[in-house]
């Protein structure tokens, strides 16, 4: 009976949690959707399908090279890339995008601001472990840039790649 209660409670709460996460994802998605047809913006969208296809490429040359192998392993985990760029009302767009980001969901990795008023902010959405689900880059200043990398970026794989590059350079 106790287990049944726990199960029922989990079933009731699960949609609430997933709806919360979904609403946050949708806030960024909506932001892209809002401006995807706006002619003030340059838009680049690379779909999960293309990353899947790149991941499927069995290139012999890459098999013999540790660095390329590491890059391909990371590429296989990527699911999509979206970029929005605009030179009009850059600062206003930057503030608007920042306001849409739920700070509970995204963690700031790095913020840079220079004297000219250019702002750069790196944010990540992860599960608290070694996997980053989204890397978000916001730039505000002369131009506004919003870059969103979605996937399962494994920090271990990235550090492996960095190590491989370092090893190769020291050879």
């Amino acid at each position: 009976m106790k287990y049944l209660k726990v199960l029922l409670l989990t079933m009731l709460l699960a949609p609430a949690f997933s709806a919360d996460a979904q609403s946050q994802i949708n806030a960024i998605d909506k932001y892209f959707q809002q401006y995807v047809e706006d002619e003030r913006f340059t838009v680049v969208y690379i779909s999960p399908k293309l990353f899947q296809m790149i991941g499927k490429l069995d290139i012999d040359k890459f098999d013999s090279d540790r660095e390329s192998q590491a890059i391909m392993e990371i590429a296989q985990d990527l699911q999509g890339l979206r970029i929005l760029v605009s030179e009009d009302d850059a600062m206003q767009l930057y503030q608007e995008a920042k306001a849409k980001i739920n700070t509970d969901e995204y963690e700031v990795l790095m913020t840079v601001r220079d004297r000219d008023g250019d702002n750069v902010e790196f944010l990540v959405r992860d599960d608290g472990g070694d996997i980053i689900h989204e890397l978000l880059l916001l730039v505000g200043g002369d131009e506004f840039v919003m870059l969103s990398f979605v996937g399962a970026l494994d920090l271990n794989k990235i550090s492996q790649l960095a190590k491989t590059i370092e090893d190769d350079e020291n050879k």
């Binding site: 995807v36 002619e39 913006f41 340059t42 838009v43 680049v44 969208y45 690379i46 779909s47 399908k49 293309l50 296809m53 499927k56 490429l57 069995d58 290139i59 012999d60 040359k61 190769d168 350079e169 050879k171």
Partner: protein, 207 residues
């Protein structure tokens, strides 16, 4: 010869006999029809869009059938000496049909028509690979897979006045693309990249 195979042979001969001439003729037509159908098949969304707009004023269109591409690439393959072109022609040989439509200066195909088409293509199992839009220019690359093959590749380029539509029916597999990437890495990029990287290491002062 076993009883069953003997019976089968007799039945086949009966079918080919003058009495059954009409039936055998249709029998031989079947593979031909199958070949023709296989080279004509285009998803409904693509063919209806192409048929709807290809004869509009200011629109130029062209369809190149697979056999012509096969023959053309085959002849070109024998004529050219350049290895890179030969490698590309090998890939081009796998294009089974090419449909091309271009509208220049005041395209009669409106952005709304294109939007609807992209929407319909998605419903027809086309998947977007890349979308790039800069000001009024939009580039869409879509793919429709069947098993291992990239069955249809669709390229759409659209701006204020011009429109380009390219639909390719192909038998290209991912391993074919991997092969060509391998070839160019071997020939052009890889060794140069390796050399450049080694040169950089040599130039780098050791601390």
């Amino acid at each position: 010869m076993t009883k069953i195979s003997k019976a089968k042979t007799e039945r086949s001969l009966k079918l080919l006999s003058p009495k059954n001439y009409t039936m055998s003729r249709y029998f031989f037509l079947l593979p031909l029809i199958a070949i023709l159908l296989s080279s004509c098949g285009s998803p409904a969304s693509v063919s209806s869009f192409y048929q709807e707009h290809k004869r509009k004023a200011g629109v130029k269109n062209m369809t190149i059938p697979g056999w012509l591409i096969y023959a053309g690439t085959g002849i070109a393959h024998d004529l050219v000496d350049d290895e890179d072109t030969k490698a590309m022609l090998q890939l081009a040989k796998k294009v089974k049909r090419l449909q091309f439509m271009i509208a220049e200066e005041q395209s009669p195909i409106s952005p709304a028509d294109i939007q609807t088409f992209v929407h319909n293509a998605r419903a027809d199992h086309f998947e977007e690979l890349i979308v790039v839009r800069d000001k009024s220019t939009t580039v869409n690359v879509m793919v429709r897979e069947k098993g291992e093959k990239l069955r249809h590749l669709l390229f759409l380029i659209n701006d204020e006045s011009d429109f380009v539509f390219l639909n390719m029916r192909t038998n290209i597999k991912m391993k074919d693309i991997a092969k060509i990437v391998d070839y160019f890495l071997e020939k052009e990029g890889w060794d140069n990249l390796q050399k450049k990287s080694e040169k950089k290491k040599e130039e780098k002062p050791k601390v």
